[in-house]
Amino acid sequence: MKHHLHRLPSLASLGPCIALLVAGSFFATQSEHFLSGQNFSLILQQVMVVGVIAIGQTLIILTAGIDLSCGMAMALGSIVITKFAVDFGLHPYLAVVCGLLVCTLIGMLNGALVTKIKLPPFIVTLGTMNIVFAITQLYSGAQTVTDLPDALQFFGNTFRLGQTSITYGTLLMLALYLLIWFFLRNTAPGRHIYAVGNNREAARLTGIATDRVLIKVYMLAGLLYGVAALLSVARMGVGDPQSGQTENLDSITAVVLGGTSLFGGRGTVTGTLIGVLIVGVFRNGLTLMGVPSVFQVLVTGILVILAVATDQFTHKKA
């Protein structure tokens, strides 16, 4: 009996779902434009960039780390993709590969500094955040890259499903969530991430190569930031060196709202997806209602504290 009770979803994992449903119902009563397939598709499209970044952020936070450099990595990735394709005339696919590679390398640098020099992730990524920002500005001359080839904008295109037009990029985001969900749940490397986050020393003693796991996690997160860069390019239709400046805190917000513990070892990417959607639904719903955007910031702040408080409360009881 007790065993069964334990397997019921905890308050921490149900809380975000409830918050999302309550918010959705509330907005449906407040704006006649909210409750439509088209609007939901729009919300998904608006969160696809931060949504993919938040997957990488979740992986890192699961190891009890944190990544402040994610938005800047994405910005550099999007400049590399667009500049390589537009200025050097590289084939768009090749330019995308270069962008993904650059972002993965940034992840590798973060991972190497965290494991080999044993610096705290907060400090490492604070440093790389500034370094990557500066490189992005210097490399782009702080200029937006325009006139992109169509191939780079594919994930911003839509197809119709009945009355609703759906953006290809949102499908990519959802597919990545599914993939990482499966990876974390059902594969040995995925379980190792939880083990390292729970107790690094214990994980090492059971024979897990913890350093290698950490470096791989940071690299995988970097690769995901590269995908986010591609999505950002497709969504905006430009390479914008000023982009990504708030994505680090936005993604951490989503991860925390989704019930993942900042102390590592506990959390899911499905929770993060819900966290991302909560922010997106509030932004969309409050705009539809005609509420000034500063209230959206206020609400997000309150929700973050509620989410962490719930997590602390349930964790202590368990």
Partner: protein, 323 residues
């Protein structure tokens, strides 16, 4: 069960909402940020005009200066809410263009307020200060005050590449009769229109050349920072600061003698004209086009011969921000 109730309630009230929403036209206003008093005043102007015409006004803003993706999201949400006219102060003059193109393709009239897009015809119309003229007014003023006395100029600019910053900078030099690259320009620094950064920039300029006697500033916060730096160096009496904006804080600084002259612009008017245009478009389907100059006035308490200016009393009446 509860969930089902919730959904049922949601559907019911949605239906009710649909009936209630009459044919009220909707205008969206998207500013760079929510916090700058310039945009607060702009919002006030739009709200007042919306009230007079009985249209619904939606407002949104980027999180910070340069937050393009936040502005794109706001455009999409406003179109979803049924806005037929969008007024926007573009944070990034180039990056916003594809999103505006999409909006216009859906029949939305887009008017840029305060800052142009690049290219300028990416919007239906631009309601803004003539920033070249604003720069020129304070340049001419400085030239009149200096007479033939040699100038040693520090220029506290916005940041590289922004069209407004370039227009004011070039206008000032033109008005002052100083060629670009002239030896009279002893220092150029980016202030980002920010007081703290303006102060740092001025400190660095003074290090470079302690004989500076004329300071051009992109806006009044940067001017306030420059004044602080000059005061700390004991040079505030002999150096003239000129600026652009006409915010209440800035005009008070003109009155106090910290800033010699400022070129005042009118954000409230930009937004009010924008809402008016939105109403006309909703009623008759007629779009505005081209550039509308919302005016600029030189404000100073030390009027110069042959230079048109108004005193700070006029400036304080017409200023934006906290009176």
């Amino acid at each position: 069960m509860k969930l089902r109730n919730c959904i049922a309630l949601a559907i019911l009230t949605t239906a009710a909402g649909m009936v209630a929403a009459a044919d009220q036209s909707i205008v969206g206003l998207i500013t760079k940020t929510d916090t700058n008093p310039f945009f607060v005043k702009m919002k006030e102007g739009a709200q007042e005009a919306a009230r007079v015409h009985g249209v619904k006004l939606l407002t949104a803003a980027g999180k910070s200066d340069g937050d393009n993706s936040g502005q794109v999201t706001a455009i999409e949400n406003m179109i979803a809410a049924g806005a037929k006219t969008i007024l926007i102060t573009p944070s990034d003059s180039k990056a916003i263009v594809p999103a505006l193109k999409k909006a216009r393709a859906q029949g939305v009239m887009v008017i840029a307020l305060d800052s142009p897009t690049d290219p300028q015809d990416a919007v239906d119309a631009l309601f803004a200060t003539d920033n070249t003229k604003a720069g020129m007014l304070i340049g001419q003023y400085a030239k009149a005050v200096f007479g033939g006395k040699p100038m040693k100029i520090a220029m506290l600019d916005l940041f590289p590449g922004h069209p407004v910053g370039i227009a004011r900078h070039d206008g000032f030099l033109q008005g002052a009769g100083v060629a670009k690259g002239d030896a009279a320009i002893v220092c150029m620094q980016d202030s980002f229109g920010d007081q703290a950064k303006g102060q740092t920039a001025m400190e660095n300029c003074l290090q470079k050349n302690p004989d500076i006697n004329l300071v051009y500033t992109i806006n009044e916060p940067a001017a306030a920072g420059a004044y602080k730096a000059l005061k700390a160096a004991g040079k505030e009496k002999n150096v003239m600061i000129v600026s652009v904006d006409g915010g209440c804080e800035g005009v008070r600084n003109v009155k106090a003698g910290m800033i010699a002259a400022t070129a005042q612009q009118y954000p409230l008017k930009m937004a009010a004209l924008g809402v008016d245009a939105g109403v006309t478009y909703a009623k008759s389907g007629k779009k505005v086009s081209g550039y509308v100059d919302t005016g600029v006035t030189l404000i100073t308490d030390q009027a110069q011969k042959n230079i048109d200016s108004k005193d700070t009393k006029f400036g304080l009446d017409a200023c934006w921000g906290k009176k």
